[in-house]
């Protein structure tokens, strides 16, 4: 079980995440009060914007994925954002802002559907990221003339061990 080495680490990350979590919540009450969403997502100390998975586990709702990631094959090679935000810098922040906004929004409203499932747009972002790291490995599988392969049909668990 690849995650075993790090449970302590997991705990730290959570507790560190804790305070930031409040920041997010605080920010969101603001949103509810009607202030522009983006400013707030940027506003909460930017913890949502750097690549530390702790930023994601600010929300206990992300815990299952975090735990899965700890046990997964990519723990030591890719962070959440490596797979969930596009590479080009601008696009990366747009996506983060968008997800950050919506996740925060839904999180406070609690009106999201469960089990949480990756949205098609974000699934596409993720698959593009697979390729940015594994482009060479899969080059042969995806000749120009052929439709792209759905990596997740077979590799759905690489990011998060079941």
């Amino acid at each position: 079980m690849s995650g075993e080495g790090r449970p302590g680490g997991a705990a730290d990350r959570r507790s560190r995440g804790g305070s930031a979590g409040f920041a997010v919540l605080a920010a969101l009450i603001g949103i509810a009060a009607g202030t522009a969403g983006f400013t707030f997502v940027y506003g909460h100390g930017g913890s949502y914007l750097h690549d530390d998975p702790a930023a994601c586990v600010n929300c206990h709702i992300m815990d299952p994925q975090f735990d899965g990631w700890l046990r997964g094959s990519h723990r030591s090679v890719a962070t959440c954002n490596d797979c969930h935000t596009p590479k080009p810098l601008v696009a990366k922040y747009v996506t983060k802002a968008r997800n950050g906004f919506w996740h925060s929004f839904h999180f406070t409203r609690g009106d999201f559907e469960e089990p949480i499932r990756i949205k098609p747009s974000n699934r596409a972002v993720t698959q593009a990221r697979c390729r940015s790291c594994h482009g060479d490995v899969v080059a042969m599988m995806e000749p120009a003339a052929l439709a792209p392969v759905d990596c997740l049909r077979c590799h759905a668990t690489v990011g998060h061990a079941d």
Partner: protein, 448 residues
């Protein structure tokens, strides 16, 4: 925003060493461009046995008539009940476990089943024909198909040089998959129209890449019959693809493969309905293609390739199953074998029931019986036999659709034993169940 699409444009076309066109039949030439696929493709000559599949290399002394020095084990010797089921038909003479693609042409050429004189139609699934069709048809593929079907086997055989090759599954250069068998083009079009109400379906135009990963196999791994004078290769799918639907189809056109030697029943032979059975399983529902399991991706050097050593996935479980099922290989093997053993157990009971029925009818026939009870028994044999063969001939021993295989065998047992009852009980008339798409449950479903 669509980073995804942008990625696609970035993808490079294949670098060609040797020029390959629509008329390049020799896989060695294609192999210069794709040495890894070619190398694996050649490996289909390997013979390894699994519990219910693979194949065993059985040495034999070559003869004038049959120069093969190695064949696969004989299924009719391993289970002689099959000889009773096929009494009077060529299969009772010679029927072996199938082996790798490398052998398809020679195994067909030299099987003793040729003794009865076969049509050119046989060739459709046993040779590289993508180029041949056009040659024989003066550029017209369908015409070539019709001409080959109409020839005696020996004559058609002269047009074929080798087993299936790259050109039969791929477009040159792009390497896009393609269906090259007219029989499948016609069969799937008829099925889409009759069952799904989709007119003028053309897989080469309308199928997704993922669908093609099964369609290329469905060209040959299917149930078939020879239609009419021209011996046109035909796939009997217009009622659907389940055993019951196909039996119904044969009833409607009043078809029989041969007259049973012991009972005189007009009987049918089912053959390798892998595509049809797979369609009934949860893997197909989950979008899992033949190639996903039988040609799994394989890391070769810096890249992943589709393993062109087409074979039993149980010989490569790590690649064939484990990316989707993160479970130990040994456990996956046991799950598969457990399904197969359950199927084999039921298959045994079904075959015993059928043999009992055949012997009973045979005895009564000696006594010159021909009343209603006798006729009913004969009809039950025809039905039971087809159902059993549908699972027996399907080569995964139930794996492709575990519950469906068990259901079909269960119904076969019901028909075989009812045949015996009809023979011995004065006025018993067997209960025949409507096919699934028309039974009380589907009707209810429609009503839902």
């Amino acid at each position: 925003l669509n980073i995804f699409e942008r990625k696609q444009e970035a993808r490079t076309p294949f670098f060609q060493v040797a020029e390959v066109t629509d008329t390049t039949e020799d896989p060695a030439v294609w192999g210069q461009n794709f040495p890894k696929q070619y190398e694996r493709y050649l490996r289909t000559a390997d013979q390894v046995r699994t519990r219910f599949g693979g194949s065993e290399a059985v040495p034999r002394t070559p003869t004038e008539a049959d120069p093969r020095s190695v064949v696969a084990q004989s299924k009719i010797e391993e289970d002689t009940r099959l000889k009773t089921m096929w009494a009077g038909y060529a299969f009772a003479r010679d029927f072996r476990e199938e082996r790798g693609h490398a052998y398809m042409l020679e195994d067909q050429t030299f099987t003793e089943r040729q003794a009865v004189g076969q049509p050119g139609t046989c060739l459709n699934c046993h040779a590289s024909l993508a180029v041949v069709y056009r040659q024989v048809g003066d550029g017209d593929m369908t015409l070539g198909f019709e001409r080959l079907n109409a020839m005696p086997y020996e004559e058609a055989r002269r047009h074929a040089d080798r087993a299936i090759a790259c050109v039969d599954c791929h477009e040159p250069v792009t390497m896009r998959l393609r269906v090259t068998r007219p029989a499948f083009l016609e069969g799937i079009r008829a099925w889409k129209a009759a069952v799904e109400g989709i007119e003028d379906y053309d897989p080469n135009r309308d199928a997704t890449r993922q669908e093609m990963r099964s369609f290329v196999c469905g060209q040959c791994h299917v149930e078939y019959y020879f239609r009419g004078e021209g011996k046109r290769l035909t796939y009997p799918w217009t009622n659907g693809m389940r055993a019951d639907d196909i039996y119904e189809y044969y009833q409607e056109i009043g078809f029989k493969d041969w007259t049973h030697a012991i009972t005189g029943a007009p009987v049918l032979k089912a053959q390798h309905p892998e595509f049809e059975m797979w369609n009934q399983g949860v893997h197909a529902r989950g979008g899992v293609a033949c190639a996903d399991c039988h040609m799994p991706y394989l890391r070769s050097g810096a890249q992943k390739i589709s393993d062109h050593h087409v074979r039993s996935p149980l010989l490569s479980i790590d690649n064939a199953c484990r990316t989707c099922h993160p479970v130990e290989s040994e456990e996956l093997k046991q799950r598969a074998e457990r399904i197969q053993v359950n199927t084999a157990r039921l298959r045994d009971q079904a075959l015993d029931a059928l043999v009992d029925l055949i012997e009973d009818i045979g005895a009564e026939r000696e006594n010159g019986r021909s009343d209603a009870g006798f006729e009913a028994a004969v009809e039950m044999q025809r039905r039971a036999q087809f159902y059993i063969d549908f699972v027996e001939a399907e080569n995964s021993m139930g794996f492709h659709a575990p519950q469906e295989a068990a259901r079909v065998l269960g119904e076969a047992i019901n028909y075989a034993r009812q045949g015996q009852v009809a023979l011995h009980a004065p006025d018993f008339s067997p209960r025949i169940v409507p096919r699934p798409s028309e039974d009380r449950y589907s009707v209810a479903a429609a009503g839902d």
